[in-house]
Symmetry: D3
Subunit: 242 residues, 6 copies
C-alpha cells in the first residue's frame, strides 16, 4: 500500500510499472449533529478506503473532502459541490490515472449524494477511455448494521449521525466525537420524501437520524471490518478479469 | 479559530452569527522530486492557512488537495484537475459560504497553476453574488526566500522542491521529508518557456528546481512566519472595509 | 383533465387561470424482449400519468418518449438521451410551465435510468424559480407486485419485461404485446452489478428479467389501480400546501 | 416499414442487419389557434414521416413532440425547448443510431423554429462520426399550397393554423380539428419582423395566420401526397450514394 | 458618429450620456474566389455599418472579422468560429453595452452563416437583460440587385463573389479587388442542398457563385445606398419606441 | 508575408503548401485615457504582429479586436469578452488552422487580461490536435522600456496609456493620438491589488498609469524594433524543431 499523500513521485512510478490500482475516498463537508464533526463522511470513507488499499496493495489517493450535500445545507457548516462539479473531478482524476498507466480506480464513497456523479463518471470514463472504475457504497453495511447495532436506523439504509456512523467514528477518530452531546432523534419523514426537493432541516431538528447513544468503538471496528471484507471480495472480483 | 474538519455544525452556526471568515487552502497532487511527498503544495498551503486562520479567528475549511499541475504530468503521481473544474469548485464553495452567511473567503494558494482559476472565481463570485473573496499566493515569499535561504532558486520566484519548499516542509511535516534523497538540480529552461505548452519533464530530470540540500526546519519556520505575517496584514486590510 | 396533445391554446389558457397542474410522463426507447415493444416504458408511464391527470384534474403533457437507457444499448432498438440532455428537457419544460403560470408539475417516471436527471431538475427548478416539481416512480409498486403477481422479479424491485410490465402492457396496449413470444429468463447478475458500468446484454440473453408468461390484463389493471391510487394520494399531499 | 413505437428489439436487430434508415419526426407543443390542437406540428410531421418511412422501408422513431417555439410563448399551452436542448437531443439520437449500425437518419421537421438546431446537429454529427443525417422541411410545400389551396398565406411560406395546416390536420387527425372555431386572421407583421426578438402575440390575436375556413381533408391529402412524393425523391437521392 | 476604433473613453462617456446606439458589423474570414479578398464579408458589413452609424449618429464598434463559414472550409484561407463561439461573442458584447448604459445595439451582418447565432443572442439578451438588439441582413438587397445588376445570381438571394459583392467591394475597397482574375461560375447545386451538411467545394470550383465580370464601383455604390437607406428606415422604426 | 485581410484563397492555398505559419494579434477594446484610442492594444499588437509576419514570412490573420478587460469596465467604451469566449475563439481558429494544414500559429498578445485564455488554448490545442501554438507578450519590453523611456511605469511591467504605449502608438498610428490631452497619473495601488477583484477606476481617475507626456514616435519605433527582434528570435527557436 502506498499513501499518495505521503509517497514521492519515484515511488509511484515503480508502483505503476507493477500495475497500480488507485483507491479514492469521497466524503462530504456536512453537518452530523452536535456530536460528530462536519468531516464525518470523509473520515469514514478514508478509513475504509485505507484498509481496502492495504488489503489489495493499492495506491491511496488524497480523499475528496467535499460532496453533494444540498439537502443538509439548512444546517450550518454544510458546503456542497454541485453534481456537475463532482463529476468533473472524477473525470479529471480518471483521465489522469488512465494517462499515467494506472490499472484501475476504486472509489469508496461515504456520502449518499455522491452516488450518481460517481456512477456517471465511471460510465463516461469507460466509454471515453476504457479506463475501469469501480465504486463502492459500503457494501454489506445494512446486514452488518443489523447484526452489530442495538438501535434501529431512522429509515431503512439511512445512516446519518446514528449508532452506525458514530461507532465507526469512535473506531476511526475518537478524538473527533463528543459522546456527551450524542442524543437520539427519530424524525418523521414527510410522506413525499424523495419525490420533491426537501431540505432535511425542515423536519429534522438536531441533524441526527436515529440513536447514537449506544455507540462504541468496538461496534465501529466490527462494522468497518465487515464492510472492508465485503469490499475487498468485490474489488478482487472486479480486478480478476482485468 | 475553528477547524471545519473537526468542528460540528452548531459550532459553525455560532461562529457565523459572529461574522465568520472562511480560510481555504488550495494545493496540488504533484511530483516534488524524490525527497518531498506528492502532497507538498497541499501541506504547505494548509500549514500557512491554519496559522492565518488562527491569527484572524477564521474558520479553516478542509483543503483542496488537487490542483492544475498539467506541466508536471510527465512525472508519475501528478494528478491534475482542469482549470474549469478548479473554478467550479471555488464557485460552488463560494456560493455555499455566501448563502450560509459567511462574511468572506480567504484562499491560500500553494500552487502556481491554481492562480488563474482562483482569481477568476473571485471575480465571478463578486459579480454574481457580491461575496468577497481574497486570494493569497504566499505574499512576501520572494523577499523572505532571499533573506533566509542560502541557495538560489532555479528561476526568479520559481520555488519547487528546492530549499524554500523543503525547509517549509521540514517545519510543517518533517516525517514526510526524505533529506537523504534531496539533491540539487538547476535545469536549463528552454528559451521559449512560458510561450508554449511545455512539460517540465522535457528539461528537468529529478523533479527538483534548485538546491534543497541545505534546507532546515528553522529556515522553514522563518519563511512561514514571514509569509503569515504579511498575509495577516493584507487580510486585515481586506476585511477592514467589509 | 385536459390532454395537451389534443387541447387548444384557449382551453389551456382557461385551465391555467384556475390553477393548472401539469402531468408529464417520462419513458424510454428501450428493448423489452421479444414480446414487448420498445416503447413499453413510455406507454406505461403515459397510461399511469393519464389516470393521475384524470384523478386530479391535471393537464397531461405529451410524454417524453426517450430516456437514459445506456445499459440496454447492447440490444438493438434502444436509443438513449444522456443525463444532461434529459435534465435540460425538464429544465426547459419546467421553466416554461413556471413562466406560463402553471401551479406545479407532476412527473410520472417509467424508467429507472431517468430518476436522477428528474430529481436533479426538480431541485434546480426549485432553487432557480421556486417552481414546485413532484416526481413519482410508481409508488407502491413493490407491494402491489408482491400481492398481485405469481412470479418473482429477477431482482428486488427490478421489473423489466416481466410479469409486472407485461400485465400492465396487456391492460394498456394489448395490441402491442406478443404473448406467444413471452418467455422467462432469470439472469445471474454479476456480483459487481451497480458498482461498475455494466451492459445488461453481457449477462442477459433475451432482454427479459423474470417470467412474463403468466401475465394478464386483469393483473395489469390491478397493478395500475394500486399505483395510481398511491400516486394520487401523494400528489394531493404535495399540492395541499401549495 | 417498422414503427419503433410498436416494434420489438429483435425486429429492429433484423432491420439493422439489412441496412436500416431511421426516420424521425420533429414537431412542437405550440398554440395553433382555437381550432387546431397544440400538437399540430407533431401530428403533421409524424404523418408525413410515416409515409416517407413506408415508401423507403424506413424505421419510424417516436416523434419529438416539443420544439423551439419561443415566439409563440405568449399564447397559453406553448412549451419550448431551447435550441441547445434540441441540438443535444439530435446529437444523442444520432450518436445512438450510428453506434447501433443504422445506415442514416432522415429528419422530418414540422416546425420552423427547429430548423437551425437540426441543421447544426446534422453538421456536427457528420464531423464527429461521419453519420449521415438528412433533414426535410416539407419540400415542395410552397408550390403545392399555391396549387391546391384557395386562400393566401399571411406571409410567403408562413403556414400556421391556416388552410394548409388545417387541411393537413383534417386529413391526418380530423378528430382533433374544431372547424366550427376556425376563423381567419391576417395580422399585420411589424416592419422589423425577423430583425429583433418579437413575440407573435404582440401583433396576432387569434393565433391564426391566414384563413383556415375553406380547409378540407381532400386538400390536406393532396398536400401531403405532394410533400411526401418530393421528400421520397430527395431521400432516394441522398441515400443513393451511401 | 463615433468610430470606437478611434474614439477615446471620455468621448464615449459623453455619447452614452446622450443615449448612444452601438453599431456592430459582423463579417467572415472566408474564401471569395481568386479576385476578392478573404475579408470581403467583413469589409462590406463594416462599410454598410459605417454609413448606418453616420446616418443615425451611432457608435461604430470594431467589426467581428470572423464568422461561421464552415461550408467554405474546403477552400484555403477560410477560418470559422463555431455558432456557440459566435453567440458567446454577441452575448458578452451585448451584456457589456447594457451594463455601460448604451441604448441599443444594431448588428449589421454580412455573412449568411452568422444569422442564427446573431438572432439567438438577440433573443437571449432580451430575455436576460431586456437590452434591445436589432439585426440586419442587408435589407432590400434582393430588389436592389435585381434593379442594378446585369447578371443573375447563382441561386435566389445567394450572392457570393458575384456581381453584387464584387461591385460593393469595388465601391468600398477597390485596392483589394483583382478584376483581372474575376471569372464567372454558375455551379449546379446538388438537389439535396440545404438538407444535409455539404461543403461548397464539392460542387463549386472557383469559389465564385455567379458572374462578377461586369461589376463596377458605380453599381456597388448604388447597391450600398439602397441597402443603407432601407436599413436606416428600419433602425429608425426600431428605435422609435425605445 | 501575406496579409489575410487582403489575400485571396488561392494565394493562401499556395502559402500553405509551402508550410505557412499564421500570426494572430490579440488586442482589446479598452479605455486608454483621454489621449489614446480604445483600440490601442489592438493597434499595437497588430503593428508588432505585422512586422513579425514580415520577418518570418508568415500569414497575418485579422486581429482579435476585443479582449478580457473586465477591470477597466468602470471606464466608458471598454467592452470585454469573457475568458471562456476568448478561449473558444482561439480553439476554433487553432482547429481551423490545423485542419487547413498550417504549420503553426504565433499569437501576439497586446493585453494582459488575455494571457491566460491564450495560454490555456495553446495547451488544449496541443493536447487535442498536436497543433503547435506560440504566444508572445511583447518579449523584452521591460528592458527596452527601461533603456528607451524617460518616465517610470506606475508599477513594474505595468504599461497602460503611459510613455511606452503612447510612443508605440505615435509610431504606429499617430493620427489616433491626442498628445494635447496626454497627462500623467501615478495612482496609488491598493495594497491588496491582485488579491481581490478590483476595478481600476476605483483608484485611477484618468485611465492613465504613468506619464505619457514625453512620448515620441522615435521612442515608439525603438521599442517596437526591440520587441520585434526579440520576438523573431524566439519564434525562430520555436519553429526550428517543427
Amino acid at each position: 500500500m502506498l499513501d499518495l499523500h505521503e509517497a514521492t513521485s519515484p515511488e509511484v512510478g515503480q508502483a505503476i510499472s507493477k500495475g497500480a490500482v488507485a483507491v479514492l475516498a469521497v466524503g462530504a463537508q456536512e453537518q452530523h449533529g452536535a456530536h460528530l464533526p462536519l468531516s464525518t463522511d470523509t473520515v469514514m470513507a478514508q478509513g475504509v478506503a485505507r484498509r481496502i488499499a492495504e488489503a489489495i496493495g493499492g495506491l491511496l489517493l488524497p480523499p475528496i473532502a467535499y460532496g453533494d450535500a444540498w439537502n443538509n445545507e439548512g444546517f450550518p457548516g454544510t458546503l456542497s459541490l454541485s453534481p456537475d462539479t463532482m463529476r468533473a473531478i472524477f473525470m479529471d482524476i480518471g483521465r489522469g490515472l488512465s494517462r499515467s498507466g494506472f490499472r484501475a480506480l476504486v472509489i469508496v464513497n461515504g456520502h449518499f449524494g455522491n452516488r450518481e456523479p460517481i456512477a456517471l463518471a465511471a460510465r463516461l470514463l469507460k466509454q471515453e477511455t476504457g479506463f475501469p472504475v469501480f465504486h463502492l457504497d459500503y457494501p454489506g453495511m445494512e446486514q452488518a448494521a443489523n447484526d452489530i447495532c442495538d438501535s434501529k436506523p431512522a429509515a431503512p439504509t439511512f445512516y446519518h449521525a446514528d449508532e452506525v456512523e458514530t461507532s465507526m467514528m469512535l473506531a476511526l477518530a475518537p478524538h473527533l466525537v463528543r459522546m456527551d452531546k450524542a442524543a437520539a432523534e427519530y424524525p418523521t419523514f414527510p410522506a413525499t420524501f424523495g419525490m420533491e426537493a426537501i431540505s432535511l432541516s425542515t423536519f429534522n431538528k438536531s441533524g441526527v437520524f436515529g440513536d447514537p447513544t449506544s455507540s462504541t468503538a468496538a461496534k465501529g471496528e466490527a462494522l468497518i471490518a465487515r464492510i472492508v471484507d465485503e469490499s475487498v471480495k468485490l474489488v478482487d472480483l472486479f480486478l480478476s478479469d482485468r
